[in-house]
């Protein structure tokens, strides 16, 4: 053990925090872990483990600030005081009396480090639950207790930080890598991941090795016990282009499947409310939406899409282009036609002041009905390519096939994004609720403040709240990220057992959402470098500053390590 200094007597030493005077050549930095031994004849030996959260140097012997100049010129003698403040993380045994001033302070290494960070408690009957979560300053591995992530004792992760410093998405994918491949999660082969790609096409190269991976990063992966490889089993799903069925992506051309819903799926799964996630979600309208969702569900019962057959659209009312089929039924082949049909059912024939079908209007005032139709019509432009009647739907199914499903939202309009996120989350959650899938499902969603805003209500927020509050016991784990945790529904953030903070905006760092960080960490969150985050988990009373290695998978087109071998080219061409 390296002796680094002594407990100061000139400042108060308490069982929870004390000051250390650093001796001679000693070096004590923020985040360093130390151990001190205390003794009391009635209690015996007590060991204090702590983390340095403040360090300071000062000239002693100076009375005035200008004395510094005199000291530098060599006119007055001064001595350099080097002190550090230590927050105690653990006392063994738990006897809360203060350490004696003058007690030697040692750097915690090896076993002491594990004790200081409660690593030795991270285990269950089946073995260790230490999930590698990054590297500490001294090069040692920082661990998360898996049981607070997989839902056993707690679940969910919340990541906040300003964008552009490669913290949120990078850390989320790193965490996934650790979850899936470190071997700590015992049923990792059953786990599924649903990743929403919200901007650019960053996540579209998860399965490609990163050409810029350095030797240093490789060693970091090795230290963490993780293979420095891209993700093995990934499905890429993107919405189709507005015309046709080709996935709407630019950088990645192979291996991306287009996804869309057909009209029957839309009705059967009750997805109508997810088109109304915007702020004008009034009570009356909400009621009407519920009612119509149910009507549509019944209408689609027993139908086998993709098109929707309706029987009660009077012949003379049909708009141009829609025709009766042989059985006297009308075949709705696009979302626009469904909207027309609903308009007919709610407002009656276009000609004259007709009335809608009473069983559909649910006794709502005509104004409400008109407002509903107006909104629905406005959404045609946004979602017509996602909800179609001319081809069997193939919506993303994260519980089938590949382990990781990347679902692209980047090019969709906000309304369509809401629709996709809402309907997918609802689908996954309902199936887990019914016990249709055994393994764990990890959902990574950026921009939580958009989907679960603090001040507004909406169907997606309801689903997210459901996942946050009940998901962990069902094995649905939300890894949510946002720039500003202060704008996300409090209950969603509060349910996250593990909180990760990347670089923060100065004003944001002062909000109560970050009170779990000690002041020094809040200040440091403003200057965090790339590849570093602050990690807070329930078992350890202080947050940890961890570095995580550069992604082993490509995060953009230029980083993809080209495979130019003959075999690869042959596969490409034939």
């Amino acid at each position: 053990m390296e002796r680094i200094g002594v407990v100061l007597g000139s400042r108060e030493a308490t069982p929870l925090a004390f000051w250390v005077g650093v001796e001679g050549e000693g070096l004590l930095r923020l985040d360093d872990l130390v151990v001190v031994e205390g003794f009391h004849p009635k209690v015996g030996k007590v060991r204090y483990f702590g983390m340095v959260d403040h360090v300071a140097k000062v000239h002693e012997g100076e009375t005035y600030d200008t004395d510094t100049f005199l000291a530098v010129q060599g006119q007055i003698p001064v001595s350099l005081a080097y002190v550090a403040h230590v927050s105690v993380t653990r006392i063994l045994p738990e006897e809360f009396f203060p350490p004696d001033p003058g007690s030697p302070v040692y750097l915690a290494e090896g076993e002491d480090l594990e004790l200081a960070l409660y690593y030795e408690a991270m285990k269950n009957q089946r073995g260790s639950t230490k999930l590698p979560a990054g590297l500490l300053k001294n090069g040692e591995v920082a661990y998360l207790n898996l049981e607070f992530l997989n839902g056993v004792k707690g679940g969910h992760v919340n990541i906040s930080g300003i964008s552009g410093v490669a913290a949120k998405t990078s850390y989320a994918t790193f965490l996934l890598k650790s979850l899936l491949e470190s071997g700590v999660l015992k049923d990792a082969h059953q786990a599924k991941v649903l990743l929403f790609n919200v901007k650019g096409e960053d996540l579209f190269f998860l399965d490609k090795p990163n050409a810029r991976l350095t030797e240093e990063a490789r060693q970091a992966y090795q230290a963490l016990g993780l293979p420095a490889t891209p993700f093995q089993s990934v499905a890429f799903l993107a919405p189709p282009k507005k015309d046709g069925y080709v996935p709407d992506v630019e950088t990645r051309l192979e291996g991306v499947r287009a996804y869309h819903y057909d009209l029957v799926q839309f009705c059967q799964r009750g997805l109508l409310p997810f088109l109304f996630a915007d702020r004008g979600f009034m009570t009356n309208l909400g009621f009407l939406v519920q009612h119509l969702t149910e009507k549509l569900r019944r209408l689609a019962e027993g139908q086998k899409g993709p098109h929707l057959l309706v029987e009660d659209w009077a012949k003379e009312e049909l708009p141009e282009g829609i025709t009766f089929d042989a059985l006297g039924k009308v075949r709705l082949k696009s979302f626009a036609e469904l909207v027309r049909y609903l308009e007919y059912k709610l407002l009656g024939p276009e000609t004259g002041e007709g009335e809608g079908d009473r069983s559909w209007t649910a006794r709502q005032a005509r104004g409400t009905l008109e407002a509903f139709i107006r909104r629905l019509r406005a959404s045609v432009e946004n979602v017509a390519h996602l909800i179609r009647g001319d081809r069997p739907g193939n919506p993303p199914d994260p519980l089938q096939g590949e382990q990781v499903h990347v679902v692209d939202l980047a090019k969709l309009s906000p309304q369509a994004q809401m629709f996709v996120v809402g309907s997918l989350l609802k689908d996954v959650f309902e199936r887990k609720e019914r016990g249709q899938y055994r393994g764990r499902v990890f959902i990574v969603l950026d921009e939580l403040n958009k989907y679960a805003p603090r001040d507004e209500e909406g169907p997606i927020k309801d689903v997210l709240l459901d996942i946050a509050e009940r998901g962990r016991s069902l094995g649905v784990i939300l890894i949510g990220a946002e720039q500003t945790a202060s704008e996300v529904e409090r209950r969603v953030v509060a349910n996250a057992a593990i909180r990760v903070v990347g670089r923060l905006d100065a004003a944001e760092a002062e909000r109560p959402e970050y009170r779990f960080l000690p002041t020094s960490f809040r200040q440091r969150a403003l200057i965090l470098p790339q590849g570093a985050v602050i990690l807070q988990q329930p078992e350890i009373p202080v947050p940890l500053l961890v570095r995580f290695p550069f992604p082993a998978w490509a995060t953009k087109r230029e980083e993809v390590l080209e495979d130019n071998s003959a075999e690869a080219l042959r596969r490409e061409l034939f």
């Binding site: 009375t63 200008t66 000291a71 060599g74 006119q75 003698p77």
Partner: protein, 292 residues
């Protein structure tokens, strides 16, 4: 019979004006009697500053006998390679008038002889204890130049300069003394010889800068320096012009500015600190020697 605490504070002793010997005559060493200036000279290294401090901590009595418990400290700072470094100071607790060591808790007062009787003799004893300690510390300082606070009393191999901040004794005849009022900051008087207790010394006056400039009493910033005649007194007088004005303290920081030199001020603070908290010492004395 045991020693008992008699008083923590000394009875208000009258500040005695040291009885300075009247000048026995005036022997100028330089002509003419005009202010002198000099060029900037490099400081010699090592350059030592020696100072001591004394503090009466309590008066104890055993029957009719009185003893003065006190603390003396002495130390030096050395200027080397552009840095002013503190050499480890020595702190001692002495009991003037005790015949054997007197413990008071963790404190142990070593006996120190007293010459004469009464409270003044005890105080004088404490001063002697300080001077003894200073001499001890001075013995450790080899080479370079030694600057001491107060008149030159000790003997030393190398060069030695003493500086006197308050001027009780008049060394100059009145017509020559007029020059002192005319000395500008950074100027010195010509050298003259003085004789004290059989010691031959070269002495001169030096005016320190005292910012902000303005109307001052005639003695403000005036130092009298002295060095043994057998040393290189002319060189030291020249050096003093580059040395002392640079080390003069600022009135904002030191009430005894500018005469109390900055390194010495720092040293004094440090010595005071090492003597321990006065209040804690008083409590220890009261607990262990009081009562009964």
């Amino acid at each position: 019979m045991a020693w008992r605490l008699y008083a923590l504070e000394l009875p208000q002793a009258q500040e005695l004006m040291p009885e300075g010997p009247e000048p026995e005559g005036f022997w100028p060493l330089e002509e003419p009697w005009e202010p002198r200036t000099g060029e900037a000279l490099p400081w010699p290294e090592p350059l030592y500053f020696l100072d001591g401090k004394e503090r009466a901590e309590g008066l104890v009595a055993e029957g009719r006998r009185l003893a003065l418990l006190g603390c003396v400290a002495a130390g030096a700072v050395v200027y080397e390679e552009g840095r002013m470094r503190l050499l480890s100071p020595v702190v001692r607790r002495v009991g003037v008038g005790l015949s054997e060591p007197l413990p008071a808790g963790e404190l142990l007062y070593a006996p120190f002889p007293v010459e004469g009787e009464g409270i003044y003799a005890l105080q004088e004893g404490l001063r002697r204890a300080r001077a003894t300690l200073e001499a001890e510390v001075a013995k450790e300082l080899s080479g370079g130049l030694l600057v001491v606070d107060g008149p030159v009393r000790l003997k030393r191999e190398g060069p030695l300069v003493g500086y006197v901040k308050t001027h009780w004794a008049r060394y100059l005849p009145p017509e020559k003394e007029a020059l002192l009022a005319r000395l500008a900051p950074g100027e010195r008087s010509p050298l003259f010889r003085i004789r004290r207790k059989g010691q031959e010394l070269a002495s001169w006056y030096l005016r320190l800068p005292l910012p902000p400039e303005g109307v001052r009493p005639p003695e403000a910033g005036l130092l009298r320096l002295e060095t043994p005649m057998e040393g290189p007194y002319e060189a030291l007088a020249a050096l003093s012009l580059s040395l002392f004005p640079a080390l003069a303290s600022h009135p904002v920081k030191d009430s005894r500015a500018p005469q109390n030199l900055t390194p010495v001020g720092g040293l004094e603070r440090e010595l005071g600190r090492r003597m321990g908290s006065r209040e804690v010492v008083a409590r220890l004395l009261a607990r262990h020697l009081g009562g009964g």
